[in-house]
């Protein structure tokens, strides 16, 4: 689990590095933001990364509901559809290790970001798959249900194309199978993850 957390953090570094404006980027055609700060430019491809804390809970007819705060991170990238609508792919990882049991969630979703006001506030929605795994290095519980997510955040401009984004995000899955070493245990497991964090976005 430590290795996973290390990888998670290591994964953030290149994305944060990407967030530094590239030479010539300002010469690209830009779509002015409809947000309150017209200086924030959103155009072409965009990238982002964030870290934070997630409260994860699992639910099923035989699951122990014991929500725990866990380390989380995300990476995202996409294209700008309009000046207030972004489309992208987002990967989210959540990890926890306690009492010899390692739990991790990895979600991959198609996400849409919208900026409904002239302020820097954004809301997002997404749909994808989540891969859940809990193991004690001997046995494993796994599940891979559909996941939907909604979130809100706010952009604080750091430069013309770079912003700091505190965010909150709620992910909820459909009911799916939970398997023990590949054998189905129950078919009604679902997960919820509530994330809070901060990220950087490069537009």
């Amino acid at each position: 689990m430590r290795r996973f957390k290390a990888c998670l953090i290591a994964g953030m570094i290149p994305m944060l590095t990407i967030a530094i404006p590239l030479p010539g980027q300002s010469r690209q055609a830009v779509v002015p933001s409809r947000g309150s700060d017209p200086a924030i430019q959103r155009s072409g491809f965009w990238f982002g990364a964030g870290v934070g804390s997630a409260r994860a809970d699992v639910s099923c007819n035989i699951c122990i509901s014991d929500p725990k705060s866990e380390l989380s991170g995300n990476l995202r990238a996409g294209i700008t559809l309009t000046r207030s609508v972004l489309l992208g792919l987002e990967g989210t990882g959540v990890a926890n290790s306690e009492d010899g049991v390692n739990e991790r969630y990895v979600a991959l979703s198609v996400v849409v970001y919208t900026y409904p006001t002239r302020s820097g506030m954004f809301v997002k929605g997404g749909l994808g798959l989540i891969d859940y795994r809990a193991d004690d290095d001997i046995d494993r519980l796994t599940s891979r249900p559909l996941v939907a997510q909604v979130g809100v955040g706010y952009e604080f401009r750091l430069s013309r194309s770079l912003s700091l984004q505190p965010f909150g995000n709620l992910m909820a899955t459909s009911k799916g199978n939970l398997s023990f070493n590949g054998t189905r245990v129950t078919d009604d497991v679902s997960f919820t993850l509530l994330q809070f964090g901060i990220g950087l976005a490069l537009h």
Binding site: I64, D99, V101, E103, A134, D139, R140, F180
Partner: protein, 417 residues
């Protein structure tokens, strides 16, 4: 006041008219059975110290799935008159979450069906041996590190075993009626009624021996099938080795604990198991032990509380001291209500509940031994319910003990119980 067994829903396996029949018995005569009394009904008669009449006792009855009248659970004292029956049937089933589904348990129904299934294999058991135990919301054990941390299975469990520990019956006879109900959060659901073949007929396993078996004699019926599990019962060697001790040394009363270890399968006609359970039924202070030097091989543990061996060994402490008020009550007979050795301290190890019936029928009809399961009733069959699931997850889920903190003695209860 007549004892009411009315429920909101139609009880499992009981004839639909049973509730109406019970309503009709407000004159105190008990329910009226369309098909007459069962062999088990009306067999109890009061002993010298029992103050209730047979008529009072027989009011505690229920109509079984076959329309016959059966005895059922009652408290050791009649709530209407306060008279005592001298025996108990364990925990009041009306407190179980499962009671709304099962209703009163007819005692001796499987024995009755066995008469029809195989008239050459009749097996009728006494009344006092029927013992109910149940527990709601039992947290089961999960034998895996990651699963036990994240998963929890809870169950409502109710059992009824005919477990007489006062007579010579179980020295040889391995057929005993077992009723078993369970509902779990993982959708494990069973309603089983069988004649349970516990161990090998004609013999038992010594409670203090190293899995030593004692062959006693022919069983009733003589063609009783072999079953899984075993009946663990004390014999004279346990008395000599563990109860009778040098003065100043405490007796080990755990050596005389009876443990009836079942192994029950519900099988299709082709022999495939669709359900398997193996509860262990424990009796801490039975009335009897096996002693081939005595008539019928039947010894009374209480009698040994007063014994002094030639080397001076005596029984000390524990249940002997409790029964004799630390030696101040000489000459207590085995059936004195003050004697602790009356079989009223019991517990049940629930253990495993396996179902391999995914997409299968939920209602099966089996012979009285749980075999030859078919989806349609046949002469001599018993209705069983097996949830349409498969609960083999790759890790064991098993039930803990229930009932160990209860004592069904007192209120005039005495051996035979």
């Amino acid at each position: 006041m007549i004892f009411q067994f009315l429920r909101r829903n139609a009880p499992l396996g009981l004839v639909p008219g049973a509730v109406l029949l019970l309503l009709s018995c407000s004159d105190g005569t008990g329910p009226i059975a369309a098909n007459g009394p069962s062999m088990a009904f009306g067999t109890w008669v009061p002993g010298p110290g029992d103050t209730c009449s047979s008529e009072t006792h027989d009011r505690f009855s229920v109509v079984g799935p076959d329309g016959k009248l059966y005895p059922t659970w009652h408290p050791p004292t009649d709530p209407a008159t306060g008279c005592t029956f001298g025996h108990e049937h364990g925990r009041d089933p009306r407190g179980s979450h499962l009671y709304g589904r099962t209703g009163p348990i007819p005692f001796g129904y499987a024995n009755e069906v066995l008469d029809a299934w195989d008239p050459g294999r009749m097996r009728h058991e006494d009344h006092v041996g029927h013992k109910i135990e149940w527990e709601n919301d039992v947290v089961f054990r999960i034998e895996d590190g990651v699963s036990s941390r994240l998963l929890q299975v809870t169950c409502d469990v109710m059992t009824k075993l005919h477990q007489g520990t006062h007579s010579k019956d179980a020295f040889t006879n391995n057929l005993h009626e077992l009723v078993y109900h369970i509902r779990c959060t993982d959708r494990t659901e069973l309603d089983i009624t069988v004649m349970d073949a516990i161990g090998t007929p004609g013999e038992f396993t010594i409670s203090c021996g190293n899995n030593s078996h004692v062959t006693v004699g022919p069983a009733t019926p003589a063609n009783s099938p072999n079953g899984g599990g075993q009946r663990v019962i004390p014999d004279r060697s346990c008395i000599d080795a563990f109860l009778l001790q040098p003065p100043g040394t405490s007796s080990d009363f755990n050596a005389v604990r009876e443990s009836w270890q079942t192994s029950v399968g519900i099988q299709k006609d082709n022999g495939d198991n669709i359900a398997f359970i193996n509860p262990y039924f424990q009796v801490l202070f039975p009335s009897r032990f096996y002693d081939p030097s005595l008539a019928g091989g039947l010894g009374r543990i209480m009698d040994t509380c007063y014994e002094t061996e030639s080397n001076g060994d005596i029984a000390q402490g524990g249940a002997c001291a409790q029964s004799t008020n630390n030696g101040q009550l000489p000459g207590l007979a085995f059936d004195d209500p003050r004697v602790v050795f009356n079989g009223s301290r019991r517990f049940v190890d629930i253990n495993s509940n396996h179902i391999d019936n995914a997409n299968g029928a939920e209602v099966w009809y089996t012979d009285p031994f749980g075999r030859h399961g078919a989806t349609r009733p046949f002469p001599g069959s018993i209705r069983q319910f097996v949830a349409s699931v498969r609960n083999d997850y790759g890790f064991d889920v098993s039930g803990p003990s229930m009932g160990g903190n209860r004592n069904y003695g007192g209120n005039g209860v005495h051996a035979p119980n």
